[in-house]
Symmetry: C2
Subunit: 432 residues, 2 copies
């Protein structure tokens, strides 16, 4: 038995590169067809997919039960098992999310620019799908449907790779999606899922499957994102950290500062838009520091501060250098008193992960400088950092938040899953 | 002497990674300052740079003479030496090109989108500089000024790497540019040039200099672009080939077809927008094929055709499979008769390099299908493929043409050398 199973594994591994290459070629072919699909056809497909997910409820939940049982046997954490577990309500939520994506405006075929040339040429810049998007995720099976639906809406093909824990659930959902596509007359291969737990598949996707993957989107923890960013030979839409700052300027309204700070930190501590560092202008520390620190502590947030912050409240513990570069994703905040706007911007330049940083001030000029000079994907004035979310930006849904500078930055919605081409309309023009 | 020289080389090589890392850090610092520079400051800098290039004429031409002499000693081709050689007229052209870039509209700070949310948040998407752009070029010293000026206009810092042949000329021009920046109160490091001929510097740039290079733009021949695309760990704006097609549809006007085809192929045969393959619809081959082939032959263009094309004129030689995938950059064209629009699109899908493809037809529906279905950066209807140029698109100037799908596609002008960020304007909003 052991020998047989080893043999079968070895054969599986040897065949993997070819198997993955074939997935890539199928995705490329599907992407070409998807690029020509009408808005209506894509929306019908998304409705069919939602229906399919509902119709396949028993099979999906059964696959999920097996995943949960395996995760429990493997001694996975309660948090992971909670992320993994589906129930009828969660599955209905997944189906509804697919319908929501269907209802968004079609991001393909928009005229992004129109240039009329003196020689009579009309040159249009028109949005077109990106192509093939590789999505690598971990234990949340809902990512299968969420990411697949966004890719499809933007006319792309998706290659999904689920983590070991969510493997069976993700296969079941992806199958429902492929069937929904077929029912709508679109290529089933527009949503493919890697049919093996073999981790080598990830490496092959990151290498781009012979030019058949245009971009990779990792959805998961720091370890996954780090590996993807280090190894990928194709572009990546991702963020590694959300080390987000709230700067309380000398001209901040204290009540607003307290409300926005508490929301930025404590609304949900585990999201990437949560604030991790509080900076307080020395010029208002006398009046603002203690009430803000007390509000944090009373809301259940531990505060790690520099000497000035510790002096404000004995419950504040000492921050070390490492704290300024730490994303706690927990009820902990680092806090520092800084010498005004320039020092705040300098601190953020050094420690920010370029995700979301906010200033609280009634001084329009200070706000303007902060918004201009802080080089993060999202900069906010008098608003919670937790608005860093595609839904809150009106994008309907997002596939993630990117801190890179190329192509997509900030929340990545369906628009950012497109690129463009130029259409030149002539009447026989030649170039002199 | 030999031992000493070897020692000095070894020391130089050992020091190169640190030297390049320092160039990267300086570029990043300069980029942060450039991002805040006003449109006016950048335009003043570009005028000062043009003045400096004129003032340093003697030094630049002297350095160029030494480059030319070395290239001649090394037995370089006449074509390379022509690309390399500067004279007072060419140098004045370089200075004027810098002024032209200065006169373009500022691509930074444009409001690309404005989203008003029900909760009163105003979210703006604002264009900001990309950051640090690495430009790797070969024998044309004018690229130093052209590329540097475009990067500067878009608020970026540039790290320039000249080929061995243009090394001295490029150093002299880059020095003039740094002095011009300083005279305008901007950081001299916004234009840096790699001060060594050591080819290992290219590898270090392609690895991204510890995150200090945001994008690489190769400017040169196929060998350079291939190496850059294969090795770069950062995004690349480039095209490898311009295998461009002109498809003569059954509804093409013959006179227009002849004029546009000849211009697409023969206006300049060595540019990336030149046509390399002629496709003729079988439905109009009877009337259109022979006149088109004759026109090409009479203009001095060799024609390599399939059996149908060879039957039209005995001077046509046989095309092999390799011809359909060849960018001649010469007075040669491959030609084929295809079974209508679908076959033309299928041929282009197989062989096009995704640069520029054109259809000639009076049939609006056929044109619409071609423009939608051909997946190239530029698709043209009744217009020469040689319009594939940033200047012809009204961009003022371009740093190159990209066939990748991410961020920039088609002519890369100053707009494509920017990215964006989101500015969130609130009045104390918190997220429920």
């Amino acid at each position: 038995m052991t020998v047989l199973s080893l043999r079968s594994d070895a054969a599986g591994t040897a065949a993997l590169p070819e198997q993955m290459a074939e997935i890539g070629r199928r995705a490329r072919r599907a992407a070409r067809l998807m690029a020509l699909a009408s808005a209506q056809a894509k929306d019908v497909a998304l409705r069919r997919i939602a229906d399919r997910i509902r119709a396949d409820k028993a099979a999906i939940l059964e696959a999920n039960e097996r995943d949960v049982a395996l995760a429990q046997q493997a001694g996975q954490s309660a948090a992971l098992i909670d992320r993994l577990r589906l129930d009828p309500k969660r599955l209905e939520g997944i189906a509804e999310a697919v319908e929501t994506v269907g209802a968004l405006a079609d991001p393909v075929g928009r005229q992004l620019a129109a240039i009329e040339r003196p020689n009579g040429l009309l040159i249009e810049r028109i949005s077109v799908p990106l192509g093939v998007i590789g999505v690598i995720f971990e234990s949340r099976p809902n990512v299968t449907a969420d990411a697949g639906a966004l890719c499809l809406k933007a006319g792309n093909a998706a290659i999904l790779r689920a983590g070991s824990d969510s493997f069976g659930s993700a296969q079941a959902i992806a199958q429902a999606m492929s069937r929904g596509l077929e029912e709508a007359g679109l290529p089933a291969d527009a949503i493919q899922i890697v049919p093996t737990r073999d981790r080598a598949a990830v490496g092959l996707m990151l290498a781009g499957l012979d030019g058949c993957v245009d971009v990779i989107v990792p959805r998961g923890g720091r370890g996954l994102v780090e590996r993807v960013q280090a190894e990928a030979k194709v572009p990546v839409f991702a963020h590694l950290d959300g080390i987000n700052h709230v700067y309380i300027d000398r001209a901040a309204d204290l009540a607003m500062a307290r409300t926005v700070l508490l929301n930025s930190k404590m609304r949900r501590v585990s999201v990437c838009g949560a604030a991790e560092t509080l900076l307080v202008d020395r010029a208002c520390a006398e009046t603002h520091l203690r009430p803000l620190v007390e509000a944090l502590l009373e809301s259940g947030c531990a505060v790690r501060g520099d000497a000035a912050v510790r002096a404000a409240d004995p419950r504040v513990t000492a921050a070390t250098e490492a704290d300024w570069g730490t994303e706690y994703l927990d009820a902990v905040i680092s806090a520092k008193v800084v010498d005004g706007l320039d020092a705040a911007i300098a601190h953020i330049e050094t420690y920010s992960s370029g995700h979301t940083d906010a200033i609280i001030t009634e001084d329009a000029q200070a706000a303007q400088r902060f918004l201009s000079e802080v080089d993060s994907a999202i900069v906010a004035h008098n608003a919670s950092t937790q608005f860093a979310d595609g839904g809150e930006f009106g994008f309907g849904a997002e596939i993630g938040i990117a801190t890179g500078r190329m192509h997509a930055r900030g929340p990545v919605g369906v628009e950012q899953l497109t690129t463009f081409k130029y259409r030149v309309h002539g009447t026989g023009q030649t170039r002199p």
